[in-house]
Structures are given as structure tokens and as C-alpha cells.
Symmetry: C2
Subunit: 224 residues, 2 copies
């Protein structure tokens, strides 16, 4: 099974704790992850995408259903259909704002669709039999959530390799599914741009641009 590694390489040290150096670097990775929208156009090394998708494929999934379906998009006409969908959705989004907010929105860099060498769509197969329905009777959204776990895992694995990833959600999901000619039971979860970043930043692009700063953890944690 893909998610079971060789015993030689698997598992942490005694007591199940990764060492302090690893923990510090892992926190660096979380802080430095970022949504990347400015890409160099040079390709990734041959085996990089395979390695990253193997990491994503180790994500948790409800009932071990592994409902994610990875679609790498290389054909020019399909990429153009996705870009066209972005342009439409973004035009409508812009029209929904007014005044200074609209002016600011218009300046934002929101995707890297024209330059990212790798484009990856992640779909959820809503009709998969794998897992036999376990864990999703009262929360059917668990299938989609499992796919999001795969995306988040892929993101961290990519950034650890110095590869940038940007999640584009200003898209018409059904149009993208049509453009990629996938089965009717597959629903778009994420459209991802990947490649080496043209710039590195510690702060989120949207914070740097003055759109939205973050809020502290304390305001997001309540006790019951």
C-alpha cells in the first residue's frame, strides 16, 4: 500500500516524538508556506510531481476512501479554457465590489495561470465505493474534506521542496470540469498552479497588498 513506507525509513524516534530541530523547521515550513502566484516558467524536475503526489496520497481520508482524483493539465486549449473561466469569474467578482474596495481588488494578483509550468486540478469522486460509506452518513461532506486534506498535504510537501503552490478558486467549477473532460461524478475541489516561485515572502500577498490582515488566535478559540 502506498501509504505504508519501508520499515527502514518509517516512524519517529523512541517515544513517538520528532526531535526539536525537526519541530522548529516544521513550524518554519508552516509560516513560510504562502499561496504563491508569481512563478518562474522553468519546469519542475522530472520526478518532482510524482514525489509530491505520493505525499498528497498519504493524506487522511474518511473510511480510507482516498476520493481525490488528480488531473494534470498540459494541453494548451484546456489551460486556455481554465484561464477564460477565471477571467469571467474575476470580472463578476470585481463588479460585486464598489469604491475603494473595487479599486484595490482590481490591483490584486490572484493567480499564476499564465506562467505556472504545472497545473493540477483536484477532484472528489462523489461516487467512489472505496470506504463503503464509512464515516460519511451524517457528514457526507467528509469526502470533499478528505480531498482538501490531500491538497493541504501536497502544499506543505511542495513548499518543503522549494516548489510554490497557489490555489485558484475564482473559477466556475462546472466549466473547469467540462474543460477537463472528467467523469460526471467528479466535483472540482481545487485548481492548483505549481512551479518555482519568482519571489519569496513571509507575509501573505493579500496582507501585503492591504486587502486583509490576519487575526490573532485568541479571538478564534473559545472554551466550553
Amino acid at each position: 500500500m502506498t501509504e505504508t513506507p519501508d520499515s527502514a525509513s518509517a516512524g519517529p524516534g523512541a517515544g513517538g516524538v520528532f526531535d526539536a530541530a525537526f519541530l522548529a523547521r516544521f513550524e518554519d515550513l508552516l509560516a513560510w508556506r504562502r499561496d504563491v502566484r508569481r512563478f518562474r516558467t522553468d519546469p519542475l524536475p522530472d520526478d518532482m510531481l510524482q514525489r509530491l503526489l505520493k505525499a498528497a496520497h498519504m493524506a487522511p481520508s474518511v473510511g480510507n476512501s482516498q476520493p481525490w482524483r488528480f488531473v494534470t493539465v498540459d494541453e494548451a486549449a484546456r489551460r486556455e479554457a481554465v484561464r477564460a473561466s477565471f477571467r469571467r469569474a474575476n470580472r463578476e467578482a470585481l463588479a460585486s465590489y464598489s469604491g475603494e474596495t473595487a479599486s484595490l481588488y482590481a490591483t490584486l494578483k490572484l493567480e499564476g495561470l499564465s506562467r505556472a509550468p504545472v497545473q493540477l486540478a483536484v477532484f472528489c469522486d462523489g461516487e467512489t465505493g472505496q470506504g463503503a460509506g464509512l464515516g460519511r452518513r451524517t457528514m457526507p461532506e467528509m469526502l470533499a474534506y478528505s480531498c482538501v486534506c490531500a491538497v493541504n498535504t501536497l502544499w506543505l510537501a511542495a513548499r518543503a521542496q522549494g516548489v510554490g503552490l497557489g490555489w485558484v478558486s475564482i473559477l466556475e467549477p462546472e466549466t473547469v470540469a467540462d474543460a477537463l473532460d472528467v467523469p460526471a461524478s467528479w466535483r472540482l475541489i481545487a485548481y492548483l498552479c505549481m512551479g518555482y516561485p519568482a519571489e519569496e515572502h513571509l507575509d501573505p500577498e493579500l496582507e501585503r497588498a492591504g486587502w486583509q490582515a490576519g487575526t490573532g488566535l485568541d479571538a478564534r478559540w473559545v472554551r466550553r
Copy 2:
């Protein structure tokens, strides 16, 4: 902002690549993560949960909306209401299977609600103004997906510290929201059991129990 670390500790080495030792250990972490359902009852160290939630709070979110709301559940009556919801949902799930599948389902260990020292509900605030709607006009589910990224990040951070985490989805989401007395705009994304694991395994519990083995990556990757 919480997600911006001190410059002294932030960022990878030159070229944006974490070193080979880190990468190998990170892949170990992904492989070893597991959904933990068998917990020791001793508490986590005082500052552990705070540290783990800080990590989760660094997760990506659409428009920097940070829509996750963390609720730690300590009161006995609330915990019992959650357990009762599990018992009902699990009884109905069992009734939906028949024959050998039902017999096998009845033997599965699906949650650690009676022993896990920490219980954490993660909600999505569907009415947050943070992010000003950016990135979720055509895909409103992006708010919930952002919360799932926080859960997945928390999961990896916990496991890196030797802390087990199990995601319980056999629950009635509205009943749990009522039991925890949260605002009406908050939707349950995940109910998590956390604590030190009583056992460690490399293979998923559901695979070991014969419910569902995994499928290789090749079957999940198509080219367009």
C-alpha cells in the same frame, strides 16, 4: 500577525529548499500520521494545545479569512451529549449495512470519545466578514475548505509532537453545535479527539481491521 514568524527563525535555507534530512523526516511524518482512536488518559502538557492551535492558525485560508473557530470541550455534560450523538449516528450507520459487512462494522473502533483527554470541535463561521468575500464567490465551499486545511495542519503538528489525533465524523453536526452552544452561523467541520496514543501503528486501523485497504496513486492520476 500570528502567521508571521520572527525573521530569525523563519524561512528555509538558500534557494528555498529544506534539507534532505528534514524532507525524509517530513515524509515519515506523513506516513506515520494515522487517525488515532486509542488514547492514554493522561493530559497533554500545559502549553501543548496552545502550541498546536498556533500551528493550525497558520493554515492557508481563502482571502486570508481564517474562518476556523476552535472550541475546546471540557464540561462533562457537553462531552456526554457528543458521545450520545455518536451512539445514535453509529447505530444508524450499522443498520445501513447487512451480512458480513455489518458484522465487521460492529467490531470497528471508530472513536476515542470516552478516553481522549482533549476534545476539540472546529467550526466554520459562514458569516465572517474577514476576507471580504474574496475567492469564494463561485466556490463558497472555500470557507469550509480553509477550516479543513487548519485541521490537517493541526493533525501533522500534533503527530510531530507525538500527540495522537482522531477525527470523528459519525456525529449529528447540528446536535453537536447545539450541545456546544455556538453561534448560529458556525457549522461543524470536525470533532477531534486528542491525547497521547495508547498504541502506534504504521497501517491505518481500517486496513488492519480488514475494512478498506488503500489504492495506489497511479489509479488516481490522469493526464489532460
